[in-house]
């Protein structure tokens, strides 16, 4: 330390001019305002006359960019796709899921962007002019005949509001949330899977009385937010929640209807229905403890179906969240990967052929085999009868038929997930009132949209 000081002092007269010159040079390099130019100039529209649904037989190479957690499903889709289109080679690039979500805007802005990429913050990326407007392809391939509930997830209007406007993406498949229940524990307690809120609450009371944890929640990673939204779906309704997630102007969750839902969950907290260490338990650990039979219910999604079927066999069941007053089922469900074509891609026809393939029977079967819901429309793909995956598929079919796919509230802005997480942790710890809970989240939402 002291020797370093001596050295710096001794050489200061020569160090200063040299360092000053270097700093000045680096200052000059940075003097223009950040972010001007770059990807903003890319062309996001394609000429309807210039596109083709025929990819010919010329050798073409496209690159697909996705989260690493989706590698297995993407690889299977690509293999089936290249069997149909032998002249197209699909290279892949994977980043860890959360890294991919954060990096996508920068990867799309790079000199060598992918041709197909998972897009999380859709309206931001469309607003940055980084995605190809797929309307001409939708016309050519007939994508605009897809169910309205699916199309809403692909569309962004001129104001950056999602839900309507031009199409920018196609999903590889859909995740679905609901309630897993342990069949052994249910049999011991003598309870049936719930279909109404009353049944859900009475079965949880029965479990609590018998000394079984009603809901195993990994709320260190936000597990209890699913419970909050399941209740909100019924009290608030699908459209207001989707509007909020799609950033429709003046949308709010700070409403009496939403408050009713949060009060219900607060009641469960007070009754001790959640594992008392929920805030210190992550999703993976919670799943493990549900498998061990520590709880009756586990509120989660189709992404856990494969693991649960492997570990619990026929000892586990899946139902949609209880139906509310509307009488029709609602559940959070959005794309496994919402694939778009970057504006700077130079193989848009081949990329669009891949997106179209996602709607084919082969692709739908591949997706269903992984436990997710299929994209597009058609016959329900096969599942092993009586298996957990079959139950998940049945639930997904019910949900699509009832047009009940609700967006995840955590996806409303790229930063809002952190606020739902921290506020729900406060709620479970009894440190925030239901009214403040919603006001805080709405406040953060409005600030992030500014």
């Amino acid at each position: 330390m002291t020797a370093a000081h001596r050295w710096i002092r001794g050489t200061r007269h020569r160090l200063v001019p040299g360092a000053a010159a270097l700093v000045a040079a680096s200052m000059l390099a940075a003097c223009s305002s950040p972010g001007s130019g770059g990807a903003g100039e890319a062309d996001t529209t394609v000429d309807p006359d210039a596109i083709s649904t025929e990819v010919g037989d010329e050798e073409v190479e496209i690159t697909l960019y996705d989260g690493a957690g989706l590698k297995a499903i993407d690889d299977a889709l690509i293999e089936a796709f290249t069997e149909q289109y032998p002249n197209i080679t699909v290279k892949t690039r994977f980043d860890p899921d959360d890294v991919q979500a954060q990096n996508a805007p920068r990867v799309l802005a790079s000199d060598d962007p992918p041709d197909v990429a998972r897009i999380n913050a859709l309206s931001d990326i469309v607003g940055n002019n980084q995605l190809t407007n797929l309307d001409p392809y939708a016309e050519a391939y007939g994508w605009n005949e897809l169910p309205e509930g699916q199309l809403a997830m692909y569309r962004v209007d001129d104001e950056g509001v999602r839900g309507s406007g031009s199409q920018y993406t196609v999903a590889s498949g859909f995740v679905l949330t609901g309630i897993y229940y342990n069949k052994d524990v249910a049999a011991e307690l003598g309870v049936e899977p719930p279909t109404t809120l009353e049944e859900l609450e009475s079965t949880m009371a029965a479990a609590k009385d018998a000394g079984v944890t009603p809901i195993m929640s990994g709320n260190q990673t936000g597990g209890a937010t699913f419970a909050v939204q399941m209740m909100m779906n019924n009290t608030v309704g699908k459209q207001p929640i989707n509007d909020w997630v799609f950033n429709v102007p003046d949308a709010t969750v700070d409403t009496p209807e939403a408050l009713e839902a949060v009060e219900i969950v607060k009641g469960w907290v007070d009754d001790g229905y959640f594992n008392d260490d929920a805030n210190g338990t992550d999703g993976t650990v919670a799943l493990g403890r549900f498998v061990e039979g520590e709880s009756l219910y586990f509120f989660s999604g189709s992404w856990d179906a494969s693991a649960l079927q492997d570990q619990m066999g026929d000892k586990v069941g899946f139902v949609l969240a209880p139906v509310g007053d509307s009488g029709s089922p609602l559940g959070m469900s959005d794309p496994v990967s919402n694939f778009g074509i970057p504006a700077q891609s130079d193989q848009k026809d081949a990329a669009a052929a891949f997106l179209n393939f996602l709607l084919s029977p082969e692709a739908r079967q591949i997706v269903v085999d992984t436990g997710a819901g299929p994209s597009g429309v058609g016959d329900t793909p096969e599942t092993e009868p009586g298996s957990l995956k079959a139950e998940v598929q049945d639930a997904f079919t019910q949900l699509v038929e009832a047009d009940g796919q609700v967006q995840f509230v955590q996806n409303a802005t790229s930063g809002i997930n952190a606020d739902w997480l921290s506020q729900t942790q406060e709620l479970l710890a009894g440190r925030v009132s239901p009214a403040d809970y919603l006001a805080n989240i709405q406040g953060a939402y409005e600030e992030q949209l500014q």
């Binding site: 330390m1 002291t2 020797a3 370093a4 001596r6 050295w7 710096i8 001794g10 050489t11 020569r14 040299g18 270097l22 700093v23 040079a25 680096s26 200052m27 390099a29 940075a30 003097c31 305002s33 950040p34 972010g35 001007s36 770059g38 990807a39 903003g40 954060q102 805007p105 920068r106 802005a109 931001d124 607003g127 940055n128 980084q130 709320n219 260190q220 260490d277 929920a278 805030n279 210190g280 338990t281 650990v285 802005t413 790229s414 930063g415 997930n417 952190a418 997480l421 921290s422 506020q423 942790q425 406060e426 710890a429 440190r431 992030q448």
Partner: protein
Amino acid sequence: MSSILGTARVGEAVGGPVGGRARPRSRRTTSWSGWLFALPALVMYVVFVLRPIVTAFQYSFYDWDGITASEFVGIENYRRVLTEPELLGTIGHSFFLIIFFTLIPVTGGLLIAALLQELKLRGLVTTARTLLFLPQIIPGAAAAIAWVWMFSSNGAVNQLLRAIGLESLTRAWLGDFTWALPSVGVIGSWLGLGFCTILLISGMGKIDGSIYEAARLDGAGFFNTFRSVTLPGLRHEIGVCVTITIIAALASFDIVLMSTQGGPGSSTMVPGVLIYQLGFTESRVGLASAVGIVLTVLILAVILPIQRFFREV
């Protein structure tokens, strides 16, 4: 940590020839050829250290998402950092961590080093040194994951409490609003203790043994020797320990991100994690840069007086 020590060592090595006192006649050529040798490192330093600092400073005056055109907002980002309680709260947390990252490792390290010195058992000292230094070779992120398991409901910490009849104290430590931050601090203490102990032991090796002998002949006990001989003899080492561990506390990132991500609620949120969240998750590059600059200034404001203090004592 290692880079700071590294710099000191590089300084010592370069100090001789660059000082140039040995060969005054070729002073001019020597100094320029010296720069030539330093040039590759200097270029890297400017490109990867100075330039990012300058650009971060520039970004902090803009509202920018990292992609599209930015908007100049003047000192608005700084106003928010210095007025919003949530942002200020994170700075409070990192100051609280100084207790665990600095106070405990330095005092603990001093006691252990003094005890080892007193015991004078060669084998024991070597074993203790190895054991204490082990945490240093484990990356902070990996250590944090191991501690997450130990702090979990069924983890080692709670098992131990149950074994000694303190069942009532068990809890999910990292999920508890009161205990999460101290628990994160314990991970920092565990990482820092070995580093401080090793540095202090080697510092003690430099204290002339005859002083200890003289103190003993004068009838000084363990605590008197510790206060009058060991402490003054170690002031430079203590200065280094305090400096490095305070920086580790104020700029903490890996341990917190891997163990709690700032939760539950925002009870363990520190500026390092906040910068990451603002900059990369929320794409608010300007605000993230402003937090970073404020943090840097704050660290300098804390460290510089401490440096001065330990030089003058």
